[in-house]
């Protein structure tokens, strides 16, 4: 029982990630703004619906801007608090857009000491209907002195909302899968070198749990995708390569089943498994970086940073990765022990 301390650790970590992952609220944010477009030179009265907000609080110190870019913004004339979740903000849009463009989206920024800064990117489309007016008013009210609110809260992201928490349960599935499958490949290499049945048994048990984690990653990802990307399967590059990975490992299990002689089964399976593990590198690490993807950090390195994974989220995400890897080792170990007993009973 003393060697099993890591199983207790696994349970504690997973409990922590589920409880903290679900209990910590999101930062306040801007859920909806109306209208969606306005002509330059007009008075815009923006109806704002907040998420996790309490607009009644600190309403005298609240400021708001419509921001075009780093040097062009216009401050609000008036802010009217309707209730906890609703404010009405009026802006006098300058008569012309800078650079004489025909239309430009503006981001809404609301700031006060209670909520901290809240941003809705591209909240309003500003159309330059009557070009020729002065655009200089855009530069007179810079966005400055934003408050910083240092609470332990997860970021508010449009479209994602509360599903940002899914990152604690979906992404560690892939980490665990990759760990199990590489560990399985390593045992297959060991089997080819030393020919010990132990290694073959470990390779097969680790491949089984790795595949289970792959299936879990795919299922949880499809569920998440349905409510954020619109469809469960959108032929995204990462969806495709992980489906191919699973097919490769399904073939591995079929291969194992098709041999009666345990020696031949172990040897053939080991060779196949080493190739399968080697295939993981181009499939999971190279190809997704080469093309565009709906996943964060498309066409580049994985987006394990910024607003998609800030420091509050890291405090849950990385323990979750460790916890699920330990869980995978535990599941593999039980399967390994059962297979070992089966073998001992048969002889």
């Amino acid at each position: 029982m003393r060697k099993d301390w890591w199983k207790a650790l696994c349970v504690l970590i997973l409990l922590y990630t589920i409880v903290v992952g679900l209990i910590v609220p999101l930062k306040p944010g801007i859920e909806e703004t109306l209208p969606v477009s306005v002509d330059a030179g007009e008075l815009l009265v923006l109806s704002v619906k907040g998420y996790n907000t309490d607009f009644v609080n600190a309403q005298d110190q609240r400021r708001a801007w419509l921001k075009l870019d780093d040097t062009h913004a216009v401050a609000a004339n008036q802010l009217l608090t309707v209730d906890e979740r609703r404010v009405r903000i009026s802006f006098s849009i300058p008569a012309s857009l800078p650079g004489n463009s025909t239309g430009q989206p503006a981001s809404l920024i609301i700031d006060d000491p209670f909520h901290g800064p809240m941003v809705k990117p591209d909240a309003v489309m500003i159309n330059n209907a009557a070009a020729g007016g002065s655009a200089s008013l855009w530069t007179t009210s810079p966005v400055s002195d934003l408050h910083v609110r240092g609470a332990f809260r997860y970021p508010f992201r449009p479209i994602l909302y509360e599903t940002i928490r899914t990152i604690y349960y979906h992404v560690p599935m892939w980490f665990a899968m990759i760990f199990m499958l590489f560990a399985s490949g390593w045992h297959s290499i060991r089997y080819m070198r030393f020919g010990q049945t132990v290694n073959d048994r470990w390779a097969s048990a680790l491949a089984t749990t790795g595949t289970i984690f792959g299936v879990l990653g795919l299922l949880t990802g499809m569920l998440w995708a349905k409510y954020t990307w619109g469809t469960a399967w959108s032929w995204d590059i990462k969806q495709n390569v992980s489906a191919i990975t699973l097919l490769i490992y399904f073939a591995y299990f079929i291969l194992r089943k098709s041999f009666d002689d345990p020696e031949r089964r172990a040897r053939t399976a080991a060779v196949y498994n080493v190739f399968a593990a080697a295939m993981l590198i181009p499939l999971l690490f190279v190809i997704p970086r080469l093309t565009d993807s709906l996943h964060p950090g498309s066409g580049g390195n994985p987006a394990l940073g910024g607003e998609d994974l800030d420091n509050t989220m890291r405090a849950v995400f990385y323990p979750a990765v460790i916890g699920w890897i330990l869980a995978g080792l535990w599941l593999s170990q039980v399967l390994y022990r059962i297979r070992k007993l089966e073998h001992e009973v048969a002889n």
Partner: protein
């Protein structure tokens, strides 16, 4: 035994379905900041792991039978 569990699971989902579908909002899953997507994700993980547990259970049962009857 296997059929009884699956029937139970099916009934559980079938009976709770109308309660979920006819809520006040248009879409239950998109209500309350889509929090039920996270709940569903956790439920999927739970169910798959339970499925694996049942698989191990059946394997262990076979093993027990072999130990009990196959001592020749």
């Amino acid at each position: 035994m296997k059929y009884r569990i699956s029937t139970l699971i099916f009934l559980l989902f079938y009976l709770t379905r109308p309660a979920l579908g006819h809520g006040e909002s248009v879409d239950f899953m998109r209500d309350t900041g889509k929090i039920y997507v996270v709940v569903a994700v956790l439920a999927v993980i739970f169910l798959v792991l339970i499925g694996y547990l049942i698989y191990l259970d059946l394997k262990t049962r076979k093993l027990e039978k072999r130990i009990r009857h196959g001592s020749n």
